[in-house]
């Protein structure tokens, strides 16, 4: 029995978006898959990936950052040490280290660098893997983008087909719509008034369904503001579940919904995992080509201003102009008629779809000026990833000239795990 380990120390949404890689590894014969996550996500990981052995580390800050130094040291040196000992004893054949984080680098110091795919640690040196290095280069052209689920999946040399990752989205038939209050960055979320208007419009179109407000306890305030903004005829059908569900409860709640209206959140990814239709609102730094819901049957309303997508960490000099189209009174009219001429400028309505590389998003309404370039970029990726039938065209090879660097074709011996296909045919 071979053992492989995936190290995913990021958040709830990232854990869900690791699915294509996890499914690919679980499909391998005679292979036990292990997953290392923050201890707060152990329960959810077990629900998402049955059959996978989950190991929980104290990795996220949370309350421990305010704890006395001694308590911090105990958690790390005593608690985490036990887990690290377990991981070292697995004698893994491969370790997939997914996050560009100092914690991840230090964790994989347990393993020989030759077995690590992704970010590795080599005699005290942090080394970014070749695929991740390439991704860092193309991320300078953010209007392109590869879904992060596919980026992680392609750490595997032959991941499962993207269509087999999540079920096709289908309404539960319950007459209930979930509304996710906010994501972690306020700029990426619709203010309560705009969200209430949108939710009300969709409720009207669907003939008076119930609205479930979803979020953690910290979003309860936003939920109350939402309820104040909601037209009275909609409030009576509304149930505020903010702070009332745990991560473990969330799948059951979502599974019973006909639709989830959400910004770019972990809940959105969980809904896609379950095959619950998503209507996602992406603005500011949120870009559907990078983090859109994975699977068929989802819709994204994507802000598309000159400055889209922006960087989360930089203040917005445009007064969050990308929010304006969502507040435009024409948007509800667009949903009512479905006619492109009613869609406000600065928005794209995207339908989720698939190609050989992974998830894509195609404009149903609005002008997607980068569609052709994105297609050439995906052709380039298909060739780079050795997808059968991939062709090199003059358009796709421009990305090769721009993105490949000498370091790519001059690997060192320690790049072994990711460079299996680069061994000369002389061998």
């Amino acid at each position: 029995m071979k053992h492989v380990l995936v190290v995913q120390l990021a958040r709830f949404g990232d854990l869900v978006q690791t699915k294509r890689l996890m499914v690919s590894l679980c499909a391998q014969a005679d292979c036990q898959v292990h997953l290392c996550v923050d201890e707060s996500l152990v329960g959810l990981a077990g629900l998402l990936y049955p059959g996978v052995l989950v190991h929980g580390l104290c990795a996220h800050g949370t309350g421990l950052t305010k704890a006395p130094a001694l308590d911090q040291a105990k958690a790390m040196l005593l608690g985490n040490r036990m887990v690290l000992r377990e991981l070292a004893a697995l004698n893994c054949e491969r370790v997939y280290n997914l996050n560009f984080s100092p914690l991840n680098f230090r964790l994989v110091s347990l393993f020989a660098p030759e077995i690590i795919v992704g970010h590795r640690w080599q005699q005290g040196q942090e080394i970014v893997g070749p695929w991740a290095s390439l991704a860092m280069r193309w991320s300078a052209m953010r209007r392109l983008g590869l879904n992060i689920a596919d980026f992680w999946a392609w750490h595997h040399h032959a991941p499962v087909a993207p269509q087999s990752v999540n079920p096709q989205a289908k309404a539960a038939g319950s007459g209930c719509i979930g509304v996710v209050m906010a994501g972690r960055e306020s700029r990426r979320s619709l203010p309560p008034k705009v969200l209430a208007n949108l939710a009300g419009t969709l409720r009207d179109l669907r003939g008076g369904t119930r609205l479930y407000l979803l979020g953690s306890a910290s979003e309860d305030r936003a939920a109350r503001a939402f309820l104040r903004e909601l037209a009275p005829r909609h409030s009576e059908g509304c149930l505020n579940l903010c702070g009332k569900t745990t991560l473990a409860d969330l799948p059951e709640v979502l599974a019973g919904l006909d639709l989830v209206i959400t910004p770019d959140t972990g809940t959105m990814h969980l809904a896609a995992h379950l095959g619950v239709p998503v209507l996602a609102t992406f603005l500011s730094s949120a870009w559907c080509h990078e983090t859109g819901p994975y699977g068929l049957g989802h819709t994204i309303v994507q802000a598309s201003c000159e400055c889209s997508p922006c960087l989360e960490s930089r203040p917005c000099p445009m007064d969050v102009e990308c929010l304006n189209p969502f507040a435009d009174p024409r948007l509800p009219r667009y949903f009512a008629t479905g006619l492109e001429k009613h869609l406000p400028e600065g928005l794209l309505v995207m339908d989720s779809s698939m190609d050989d590389v992974g998830a894509t998003y195609t404009a149903r309404a609005g002008a997607d000026d980068w569609a052709a370039r994105r297609m050439a970029f995906r052709q380039f990726l298909a060739g780079h990833l050795h997808i059968p039938g991939a062709m090199v065209t003059p358009e796709s090879s421009q990305f090769a000239s721009r993105l490949y660097s000498e370091r790519d074709w001059l690997p060192t011996h320690a790049d072994t795990a990711e460079y299996e296909t680069l061994r000369s045919l002389y061998e």
Partner: protein, 416 residues
Amino acid sequence: MVLPLYGGSLPVGRFCAGALRELGHIVEVFEAPDFYSSYEALGRLRVTSDRLQYLENTYLQVVAQAVLAKVETFEPDLVLSMAQAPLTIQALKRLRRDGVATAMWFVEDHRLFTYWQAFAPHYDLFAVIQRGQFELELAGIGVSNVLYLPMAAHPEVHKSLELSEADKRTFGSDISFMGAGYPNRRLAFHELVDLDFKLWGTEWEGDPILAPLVQRAGARISSEDCVRIFNAAKININLHSSVQATELVTGGDFLNPRTFEVAACGAFQLVDRRSLMPESFAEDELATFGDMTEFLEKIQYFLAHPEERAAYAKRGQARVLRDHTYAQRMRTLLEFAAERLPNWPRPRTATRAVEGVPPELMVEIEEMLARLGLPPDASFEDLVWAVRQQSDSLSDLDAAVLFLDEWRKLYGQRGG
């Protein structure tokens, strides 16, 4: 000749250099492997990852500058490199700007080694081991001087040997395979474990079925021992590699170097059929198979028919020595260069080495030319360069030749 930093095509680069010398050309080799350990050492610095990337890229630029310095000094008619040679795009642009002709012999699978898209347009000539789709794709990105140039053998290395009894015991077996443990090979060879079968080469770990057959604990095998293995085995298996194991016999296009090397040794091989095989070998020159059933049948057949093995080996060897040596490949490449590159090679106004030599030294100079592998009509400049390439201490005559050359450069005097 710019060798790769390391890797499987390094011997191919050396064979090319040897072949070019054999054809009478002056060859200067950039020993890129000398720089490899420093390059790897950067990865042990324990700095931030972005700083490491910067250092690695900068180091590659420095090594490329060393190549340019050598080109400036040696003034070659052609700079020839292999796929993992440390010639950066920036260096290639500089060579093009300076009018120095460049060529790469790309001896890799273009579908797996996709980086050719980045550097192929910067070479004046691009030699490849695959046809069809690859040629079209190269043309599509503006690479027009493409030459199909299959692999080869180097008869100085790949030759028939009289093995000692000890070598026969060490290297001999009914069936042998020399190469890396790619997935398709691992599975295919499970069928052979009950036979007298030796596995040589690297990356065979983790397979308990094959483990007892792996020789020398899976250590890398030298070129010299490869030749002994080829000579010693009754049947050399040559199964082209594949990174997937769904189809064990892939029916791909290019021929690997082993196909030519085993044949050049006068040894018998059983090789999987490839689409480009008919262009290089007639049906009676190589024993082939198309699937696993045929593979297993033919192993039994050829084990029982040594006279047929000998006949195939003889015909295969004759064909390789006639048409598929590195010398022939280099000749083809240079003819292609002359055909495609305008005014190539540039005429050189050079004095013959033997002109103006005092009569009492003529015999010694002629002996010197022969010792250095130069033709009798070699130029004085070529003689100087060949003397300079020697690694041992120089003789007094060698030193005197170099001294004369430098003296003339200093004072610009060639005499009347």
